[in-house]
């Protein structure tokens, strides 16, 4: 068994604010093998985005990683100097953000930015860099890439900007890509196009990818494995079939059941009562207990340990059993 490209082990990222300590990520663990796509699924406040940022060391004060390790091909990223991290970012580990304008500078042309991105990690001439940029744009399915290179970001549509951002991420053939909801803000047709491109790319270049999303359906079609996060912890992880057909954690079940396609037309959807807890005030014991129909006194007093079989793991004292369609 080769070393996983990414191994997050008991990661804890806390924010020390004036109002208290916000435990955004509180013991998250998962692995990503080379060429594998892992979907990190959760709602707002679950800590999925912060996990992604933590891997790349993009957490600013008042937050910091307070515990755990992030192993990239065996190397602990949390122990690296900022300079060493900088050499990795954009080079061997790349990130794609939800808003492409977080990657793109609105006052520079696309070719200027892409050439700069190439030359940051590779000693090549401007001409060669521009060639690489052109190839990268073509590989993400951008129509007439030569023209697009000379445009400014505001002259491109949202879908095209996101494609440019993805192309920049792929410039140095990274071994790991962290994608933080890149298609959430895009139309269905554009989303489908970009998902198609990402699938092809990962299959071709054996890149490991972490796809952070709140949309189970998108992740179902794209990922090999899914990790479900709630209140800063990974509550269930397993292959896509495991999670969608044999979910064990009540939150996962609730999440799947609340989707319209799971209900009969016109009938009320099965909803999870209540709301997710604030990171400032996590309840004692299992974070999901206040909303869980099966919670007992044990759940409210102690955090459930990780249990499960094989790759299908979950944190629950009373996991549900029984397959569902």
């Amino acid at each position: 068994m080769s070393t996983p490209t990414l191994s997050v082990q008991h990661l804890r990222t806390h924010f020390f604010t004036g109002a208290g300590v916000a435990k955004a990520v509180d013991d998250a663990s998962f692995d990503v093998a080379p060429g594998e796509i892992v979907g990190l699924v959760g709602e707002s406040g679950s800590g999925k985005s912060i996990t992604g940022f933590s891997v790349l060391g993009l957490i600013d004060a008042p937050g910091r990683i307070v515990g755990g390790r992030v192993l990239f091909k065996g190397e602990d990223l949390t122990a690296l100097t900022p300079e060493a991290l900088r050499r990795l970012r954009g080079n061997r580990i790349a990130m794609i953000f939800q808003d492409p304008m977080m990657t793109l500078n609105p006052v520079l042309r696309i070719d200027t930015q892409m050439v700069e991105a190439v030359q940051a990690h590779a000693r090549v001439s401007k001409h060669a860099a521009r060639q690489r940029a052109l190839e990268a744009l073509a590989s993400v399915g951008m129509p007439s890439p030569g023209e697009r290179l000379r445009a400014y970001p505001h002259q491109l549509s949202g879908g095209m900007r996101q494609r440019v951002a993805i192309a920049i991420a792929l410039l140095h053939d990274p071994e790991l890509i962290i994608a933080d909801e890149p298609t959430t803000a895009l139309d269905v047709t554009i989303q489908a196009q970009i998902l198609a491109e990402m699938q092809k790319l990962c299959a071709r270049s054996h890149t490991a990818m972490v796809w952070v999303s709140h949309d189970l359906a998108v992740v179902a079609g794209l990922a090999d494995r899914i990790c479900v996060m709630y209140a800063g912890r990974v509550v269930e992880t397993g292959s896509v079939d495991d999670i969608l057909e044999r979910p064990r954690h009540p939150y996962t079940i609730g999440l799947i059941d609340s989707l319209p396609e799971k209900a009969r037309r016109g009938e009320p959807l099965k909803q999870i009562p209540g709301m997710a807890p604030s990171a400032l005030h996590l309840p004692v014991g299992c974070a999901f207990a206040p909303r869980c129909p099966y919670a007992t006194a044990l759940c409210r007093s102690a955090e459930p340990p990780v249990s499960g079989e094989g790759v299908h793991l979950y944190r629950c004292f009373h996991p549900c059993s029984g397959a569902r369609a």
Partner: protein, 304 residues
């Protein structure tokens, strides 16, 4: 269904409310806290000057010209201690400064209040109705802002003559533009927000939409500008009085006091000009610090 918000609470004020944020910004950092205290102290002094001043500088009967030009700390013929010295007529500088502060602050506050009302209303109306009204008001703003304050005030006072009311009028004529410009910018953004569309859907009248819905959202920057403009008004009035065209001699503001002592500087009687000047400096400086701190604190809330 319960709301999530459980915030750490100060006893009486929600630290996340507007008041809470204001208090936190004003008393949080030491430098700003000092400035705030100074401002408050000066306002109190100005309010209660007639009762706490050691001497009434306008009561000619109490003055003794023999005590003129005494240095700070000297005792006069009647045994009265002149803390900060006396001017050419024997007026206690300390008392004169208190009364001067009163006038200066009064003029500043009055003109600030009127400019705020006029400017805010015009800015709101310009943003709400848009198009021609907007163009009209904004070109007027550009016009007013193009002229230096002192120049406009000079022109107006030359026509109108001296007096507190005329000085206030001259200052308002220039200052309303600052309010109008900022309010119009904020209101133009808020105008597009969905709650204003909802107000339209709900059939609320224009007047209601303007003053009940739009105005409260534009107020925080207005407060900040008001503070800074009051400080600017005080400086402007001091300049005008120094030049002799502002307030009449019977109502000496700090500026006039500085002017009175100007001639005496060369003779070495520095305290007649310097102390009122220092007081003016401290006043304007503190108000600016407070205003700046408020602007920083209230701004992120606007972005929400």
């Amino acid at each position: 269904m319960r709301a999530t918000a459980t915030f750490p609470s100060w006893r009486f004020v929600d630290r996340n409310s507007t008041l809470g944020i204001v208090l936190r910004s004003l008393f949080g950092k030491p430098a700003v806290a000092v400035a705030t205290c100074i401002c408050l102290a000066l306002v109190v002094i100005a309010l209660f000057a007639p009762w706490i001043a050691p001497q009434n500088p306008y009561d000619l009967a109490a003055l003794n010209i023999v005590d003129g030009r005494l240095p700070p700390g000297a005792r006069g013929a009647s045994g009265h201690l002149y803390l900060l010295g006396s001017d050419a007529l024997g007026r206690d500088m300390f008392a004169a400064m208190m009364y001067g502060l009163r006038i200066s602050l009064g003029v500043g506050l009055l003109s600030g209040a009127f400019a705020m009302t006029l400017g805010t209303t015009l800015g709101l109306v310009a943003a709400y109705f848009g198009r021609y009204v907007d163009t009209l008001v904004m070109r007027a703003v550009d016009l007013m802002l193009g002229f230096p304050t002192i120049l406009v005030a000079l022109m107006m006072l030359a026509i109108l003559g001296q007096g507190v009311d005329k000085v206030v009028l001259a200052l308002v004529v220039v200052q309303w533009a600052y309010f109008a410009r900022t309010v119009r910018a904020i209101a133009a953004v808020e105008r597009r927000k969905e709650y204003m569309e909802a107000a339209l859907c709900l059939g609320l009248s224009h007047r209601r939409a303007l003053f009940s819905q739009l105005l409260p959202n534009c107020l925080p920057p207005v407060i900040v500008i008001a503070l800074v403009q009051i400080a600017a008004a005080i400086s402007a009035e001091a300049t005008l009085s120094f030049l002799g065209i502002g307030l009449p001699v019977t109502q000496p503001s700090l500026g006039l006091l500085i002017a009175n002592g100007y001639q005496q500087l060369i003779a070495g009687f520095y305290w007649i000009s310097v102390f009122p000047g220092l007081l003016l400096l401290v006043l304007v400086f503190s108000m600016n610090i407070v205003g700046d701190s408020l602007r920083e604190a209230l701004n992120p809330r606007l972005q929400k």
